[in-house]
Amino acid sequence: MNIIEVTDLKKSYHEGADTIALNKVSFSVRKGEFLAIMGPSGSGKSTLLHLLGLLDVPTSGKYVFNGKNTQTYSSNELADLRNREIGFVFQSFNLLPRTTVFDNVKLPLYYSNIPESKWEEKAQEAVESVGLGHRMFHSSGELSGGEKQRVAIARALVTDPEVIFADEPTGNLDSKSGKTVMAIMQHLNEEHGKTIVLITHETSTAEHSERIIRLMDGEIESDEKVKNRLTANDEFVK
């Protein structure tokens, strides 16, 4: 079953002359797949991720997410869909400052329909699943970059979404922390069956995935399976 099906997706911006960021993009992602989207800057990969993540709406084309034709959805319905079925991991972490790890991870639950009585348990579980149980009540400012990104992953997991969209998750990290993050991603994909869509410009990161879509000037240049898939072994993943 496909969780993502895009057909002839187009996105253009009106800044003086029309700028076409994405054009005639069609592909689908199977539930439980680990996909990497690559391309040089300006190739439209961030735009594509924003569209896939329902943060933005396409100029034209069809996007069916988890069986739902998102074109007909209102902004409130999209917000609800983002909350329930999508988790985001950003390059710059985007944690709330002066807020504990625990509270940062709890944040999506505020906007969810999950009863409050389960919040603590869910947040705690998510924090522990990224190996940060010992940092639960530390302020986000006290963490290293790698730890911050792991908190962000925990936050993305807390509502138990179908898909995790990661926008250059290792871009701001040293290689060791980057490896840890990728190990967690692979673990989530393989053990928990999460669909993962990852944006990166590093081939080494992309090769942790099963399949790589390369974008060039807003169009798909290639879409192929990864032959020698890398496995990030890490002490956090048991």
Binding site: L55, S75, N76, N83, F90, L96, L107, R155
Partner: protein, 412 residues
């Protein structure tokens, strides 16, 4: 998002930036403090004045010669000699004014009183024995008696300041005589100090029988005022009406607009003074409201800065599932909380200042000033400050809610 968590989120937003939040609400605090202070002091002043007016007895009715001026050019009747002895006779007739208990003609003048080489400018108040009852006077010595009035005696009751300035060498005033307009008056009593806060200040007055005052002080047969008492509070209005009719008949007036006298009840006076003090209070409230408005603009300014500063946070919240409405209520609630907290601080501060002022006034000036906690001012202050939050926080909050999540996440 539930209200509980919106509230929690808003509170977190405020507490993470404590010093800025504190500075932001300063304008609101000052505005509400000023309003509370003004309203409380206004209410205190009103209570003081009304208390004194009512202290004269709510059954008291006064007749003043001349009609109330109807405009700035209409002053001709202000100082008229319309009240005469025949009016008093007519009013005393039970058939005319059945509700009348007592009547006191008064004569007001001024002159220089002297004792030896000491002189003092005094107000001279010609009255009867009723004066002591109406104004609750307790002189040292005697007061004017009915006999004194009948026989036009040369007796005087001195105000405390008068006595103090005349008898500088410790003489006992009660055994001495003072001179007013070259006539000797035997001092029969001295009034205790009434204090500066009194509506009628007897301290610089000399009280004499009104008959004596007519003969030797003003030299006129007319009265300055007729002060009357109704038999009970219930008949004050009907008695006042009877007095009006009687005086019209006595003066041969058929057209009520040509009245050459004014009948005032204590209630009239209380109402009028009440109107003046509340008008003054609300004027000052209006002035203080300017501070609130400025405070509101300050809130808007800071909220706009906060919204810009927290663009990424807004983007993140939206990405995680916050709706536009969630963001709107979060920032709106922050603004309202901020101003409401400012309002509460202002209410407490204003009430404390008013309390201290009331304490200072009653101790420093010796007036009976009571502290009034202005519940209406507090309620108004709180609702106005919350309103300011809604109004001035509304624009920044709507700006925040309209941010597109991707623009917001991209914002550096």
């Amino acid at each position: 998002m539930t209200w509980k968590h919106t509230l929690k989120t808003a509170l977190t937003g405020l507490t993470t930036n404590r010093s800025r939040s504190a500075l932001t609400i300063l304008g609101i605090v000052i505005g509400i403090t000023a309003i509370m202070l003004v309203v409380s002091l206004g209410a205190g002043a009103q209570e003081l004045i009304l208390g004194q007016v009512q202290g004269l007895g709510t059954n008291t009715i006064a007749v003043i010669p001349g009609r109330e001026p109807t405009g700035p050019s209409d002053v001709s009747f202000l100082f008229s000699d319309s009240l005469k002895e025949k009016d008093v006779v007519a009013l005393k007739n039970r058939a005319n004014v059945p509700g009348l208990k007592s009547i006191m003609p008064t004569v007001i003048g001024a002159g220089v009183a002297s004792y030896g080489s000491n002189t003092y400018q005094v107000s001279i108040f010609g009255a009867t024995d009723l004066m002591a009852e109406i104004f609750d006077l307790h002189p040292n010595g005697d007061f004017i008696s009915p006999d004194d009035v009948l026989s036009r005696s040369d007796v005087a009751v001195l105000g405390s300041k008068v006595a103090e300035h005349m008898f500088t060498n410790g003489e006992d005033p009660l055994v001495n005589k003072i001179k007013i307009k070259n006539r000797n008056f035997r001092v029969i009593g001295v009034l205790p100090p009434t204090g500066g806060g009194s509506l009628f200040n007897f301290d610089a007055m000399v009280l004499v029988p009104y008959t004596t005052a007519q003969d030797y002080i003003t030299g006129k047969k007319s009265f300055s005022r007729l002060i009357m008492q109704a038999v009970s509070d219930n008949v004050v209005q009907s008695t006042a009406d009877d007095i009006t009719l009687t005086l019209r008949e006595s003066h041969g007036i058929t057209d009520p607009t040509k009245d050459d006298f004014t009948v005032q009840t204590q209630q009239d006076l209380a109402n009028r003074l009440g109107t003046i003090t509340s008008a003054l209070t609300w004027f000052l409230v209006a002035v203080a409201s300017i501070a609130l408005f400025v405070g509101g603009v300050g809130i808007m300014n800071i909220m706009l800065v906060a919204v810009t500063e927290r663009t990424r946070e807004i983007g993140l919240r939206k990405a995680l599932g916050a709706t536009d409405r969630d963001i709107l209520t979060q920032f709106l609630l922050e603004a309202v909380l901020l101003t409401a907290i400012g309002g509460i601080i202002g209410i407490i501060l204003g009430a404390s200042l008013a309390f201290i002022t009331a304490l200072g006034l009653s101790q420093g000036l010796g007036v009976n000033w009571t502290f009034v906690f202005p519940w209406n001012g507090a309620a108004m202050g709180l609702s106005v400050s919350a309103m300011i939050g809604l109004i001035f926080g509304g624009y920044p909050a709507s700006q925040a809610s309209k941010k597109s999540p991707i623009e917001a996440l991209r914002y550096e």
